[in-house]
Symmetry: C2
């Protein structure tokens, strides 16, 4: 390969897939703020402010709240590696691609895992969690995905949290596609450990995984007998640096933390309730438009996720070609299906700064245009009109 | 804590500590290039280009060369977790803080570790590696730090690589503080696995760890019996995405990869030889200036590292107060000592975009001014004059 010395010039896509979503311009600017040393008092202020903002967005008073220096999966792994000791019994809800990932990582952590399976597209019922915990009384941790990026299912958590706590176990939740777009009320719901990412409803580039851990869960981490199997993701060491005596652990990704701080500030400036309402309204408009196009969603209300919608593609359509046309002709990204939904589904994200009426109308009209060219029967203008009625 | 809604405003420090170093302006701009999806053909080009540039900077044809999505320690952990199987015998050179970190992580990977200890400030001799391998014939991996950020020692590698290979073992090298400032000739020297970081001589913000792995080492990874203990850092899965069939693993930190690509481009535009010569000349000028100030360096030539110099602080000086004055009065960062050198040493980095004659002269004159105010006896102007003589 020739030495590639051309200037960096990626296209300015409108990102309406499963993430990354479009970065907010203020977040982009924050990325270029001067990097300072990891023991500089000016940096400590940035850390403290980021932690304080993050607690507000997670709706928690948990002391142990900070970003892990890796993407969402690093946060998933950090929580599992620190909350699980080899031989621990764990229940993991496996009703989508990311529940399956939790399952795999829990196995690598040495857990005995009892998977709680449900068809992709359906949530896990509280009753099934209750039965699983009765069957396996030694279970110490229950893990679920709040917003399944593969299926577009929003998992109700409050009742499950109560059952898990009655049992004396901890509840761990994947909030990768919910935080910043859908309510995540950690304290009110009784979530013991949650992780998220930066590149979806927080409108930042990918690269960090904000986590929060309740006092009860932190006690389990503090009292574990074995060292966590990762040093990079060892929460005791990380908390010493982020929230304790600032003992050096690794050089924190300063530019990414600047970006996260700005992304969180944007969430709170808009207001969590208003932001949630914006995502909800745009999702309902999208769903109305899809219905007008005759395209069914995998998940059904009330468990359909506002931030990400999984659409079932009619069998005669070449779904990859439709996505390529949207990308190459309209500079617009939507996602394909994961796992068993590969080749059978689209995933449409309306998240963070990308969740705007303009992006929604563009998507529906570009999709309609592309589908019409593929010979798909539709009534011109119906999708946009249906969406516009919801937007009001 | 009040909701911190003030604008982000970190000071523009001149970063002459152990890293992060100052980000090059072109790298800053690259951070703000539009993020695209992780399966976008435009993104695949960026990945391929970054890999090709990285191979050139690592002076290797290794296929398995790409950035890990975490800081330098994540790269350290990725290589150790994938190259070590539980029960493997490993020799680790422990003659500084980061050798000790390798030791700790190798233990978490389940290795039986034979530490090869030397006083901080001294390199490991080839003879000691030969003896250790004779004593422990089952050893499969030898790990050393090429450029110890805690001591300022540059570890010679060529002869050791030969000994390690004669023994049939693999050589793993920490290049965190060497890559981009000191020659790292992976293929010519016979390095089997190396990791580095972005925030030192590559002039990028912290956040990625570029790694490279020889064919022989990759074979060991491919044939391991157990799964790597980390899923996030599982090289087989990562290589499928970065260099294989693009199977989704995690959403790559696009902005950081853009930055790395630009940082690598800057290295090659300057030319590796010229860049190495620049770092070498500035280091020699620094050392001359320190000598004129009567400040001894921990490491002695020829094993003194050009990118980072560890200076022993005279006993009567309050080293932390000197650093605070440099920071608060002159906006200039140098580092303190790590581990046993805490309170006893300064660490001065002249790396990447920060390695300039202007920064060097500023540092020496600010240091002289500050030391004079502390009552330290010195000849005014001598340090700058000594450095200027070297710069020519």
């Amino acid at each position: 390969m020739e030495q590639p010395l051309r200037d960096l010039d990626p296209p300015s896509r409108i990102l309406l897939g499963p993430g990354p979503s479009n970065v907010h311009p203020r977040v982009s600017r924050a990325l270029t703020a001067p990097v300072v040393g990891y023991l500089d008092p000016a940096w400590f202020s940035v850390m403290d402010e980021t932690v304080a903002l993050l607690r507000q967005v997670y709706q928690t008073t948990n002391r142990v709240t900070f970003p892990i220096s890796g993407t969402g999966t690093a946060g998933m792994e950090a929580l599992l590696f620190n909350l699980i000791e080899p031989g621990d019994q764990v229940v993991v809800a496996v009703n989508g691609y990311f529940g399956d990932r939790i399952h795999q990582i829990a196995l690598r952590a040495g857990a005995e895992v009892f998977p709680l399976r449900a068809p992709w597209g359906e949530p896990i019922s509280p009753g099934r969690v209750r039965i699983a915990l009765r069957e396996h009384p030694q279970v110490r941790l229950v893990a679920l995905v709040h917003a399944e990026t593969s299926t577009g299912v929003l998992q109700p958590l409050e009742e499950i949290a109560e059952i898990v706590h009655q049992h004396g176990a901890l509840l761990l939740v994947d909030c990768v596609t919910s935080l910043g777009g859908v309510p995540v009320a950690c304290d009110a719901w009784g979530i013991d450990a949650a992780y998220s990412c930066t590149q979806k409803a927080l409108s930042c580039p990918p690269g960090l995984s904000p986590v929060t851990i309740s006092e009860r869960a932190w006690e389990r981490v503090s009292r574990r007998k074995s060292a966590a199997q990762s040093w990079y993701l060892d929460l005791k060491l990380l908390v010493d640096y982020w929230l304790g005596n600032r003992t050096y652990h690794h050089t924190p990704p300063a530019a990414m933390v600047y970006a996260l701080r700005e992304g969180l500030r944007l969430v709170l400036e808009e207001g969590i309730d208003q932001r949630v309402a914006r995502h909800r309204q745009l999702a309902e408009a999208l769903w109305a438009g899809l219905e007008a196009l005759g395209l069914p969603c995998l998940a059904t209300p009330p468990n359909r996720l506002p931030t990400l919608t999984t659409v079932l593609v009619p069998e005669h359509l070449d779904e990859a070609r439709v996505r390529a046309t949207l990308r190459d002709r309209f500079n617009l990204e939507i996602g394909g299906g994961l796992g068993p939904l590969r080749g059978k589904a689209w995933r449409i994200g309306l998240m963070g700064a990308g969740a705007t009426p303009a992006n929604l109308l563009l998507l529906l009209s570009a999709l309609e245009t592309t589908l019409a060219a593929e010979g798909y029967p539709l009534q011109p203008g119906a999708a946009v009109a249906a969406a516009a009625r919801v937007l009001g």
